[in-house]
Symmetry: C2
Subunit: 170 residues, 2 copies
Amino acid sequence: MTNGRPPSTVRGDSLLFLTDEQLRQGSEAMFFAYRGFTADPDRILGDMAYGRAHHRAIHFIGRAPGTTVNNLLNILGVTKQSLNRVLRTLIADGLVQSKVGRNDKRERHLHLTQEGRALEQKLSDAQRARLRAAFRDAGPEAVAGFRTVLEAMMDPEMHASYTKLKESGA
Amino acid sequence: MTNGRPPSTVRGDSLLFLTDEQLRQGSEAMFFAYRGFTADPDRILGDMAYGRAHHRAIHFIGRAPGTTVNNLLNILGVTKQSLNRVLRTLIADGLVQSKVGRNDKRERHLHLTQEGRALEQKLSDAQRARLRAAFRDAGPEAVAGFRTVLEAMMDPEMHASYTKLKESGA
DNA sequence: AGTTTACGTCAGCCTTGTTGACACTCCAAG
DNA sequence: CTTGGAGTGTCAACAAGGCTGACGTAAACT
């Protein structure tokens, strides 16, 4: 299953980017980059009573206003108990509003309040600033490649969620 | 600070990839992709008494054999108490060996044992398989862009660690 | 001799994930 | 109309893995 293949020979030059060493570097790049990716919002959240889980919830509610709890559960990939704990505090603090469904009254539709939108902006701005700088430095072609690879490494269900959000967005 | 800028106008076409909507999609791609990235090793670890933190420690010890605790601390970006908890179990279970430094006897140099190397392989194989598939599907240019963007979003110190490992590697 | 560095460890706390169980509301199908 | 199942909320208990603060030891440096 594992191949301690010599990195230089064996393959016809064009597959050199699939070397074990290249893949290892790819893993490490993901690790370090994800740390950078979450660093700024985490710093802001640290001062408040919230954590990364709250950021994620706020982000996706802001992204898809009126989404149901179940929908959010699928996107976030956590248990309803985990999500509920986060959601409860956000609702109690007046950042998120939960409305009983009009058609199906079992469902709760989630919206950000003004206050919630403000926090979402603050957090996303911090995160996007870093991403914007990285994108600018790397250039459009690198960004396209970045997206292509990330999409290719998602699980199918995640890819579906991602695509759905992407299409609803613009 | 925040700009609800109309996505279509204002800018001269070549900066369209820096739209807020594009950045938002980038964030979400990172989120979903990272989930995929950690999914396979997490599944394996779940059956054992170890978690993601153990995987990280094993990975970087395998990558830089003989590294000191302090060095590892910098790479991982956690407190020594956190790392120690993980390291202690790995040493107790015979996956990692800790040797007192020859020159500086305060330092401990960390190595994987045979058993440790075996687990490292198992975990990394799972992770690399997904990455390999993604890289293959996306192609060399996309992979280059992927790396460029990830490197650009690291904090400087992380980028230094990353580069150092990269150079030692091949 | 005194200070600093590298490491280990104890105690306690927080966030965020998990499972399992139970209740309630409500839609839909028989 | 009853009943099954879906969507939701919540309680309890637990685990992983972060964190801070404090203390101890050995070795190195000055």
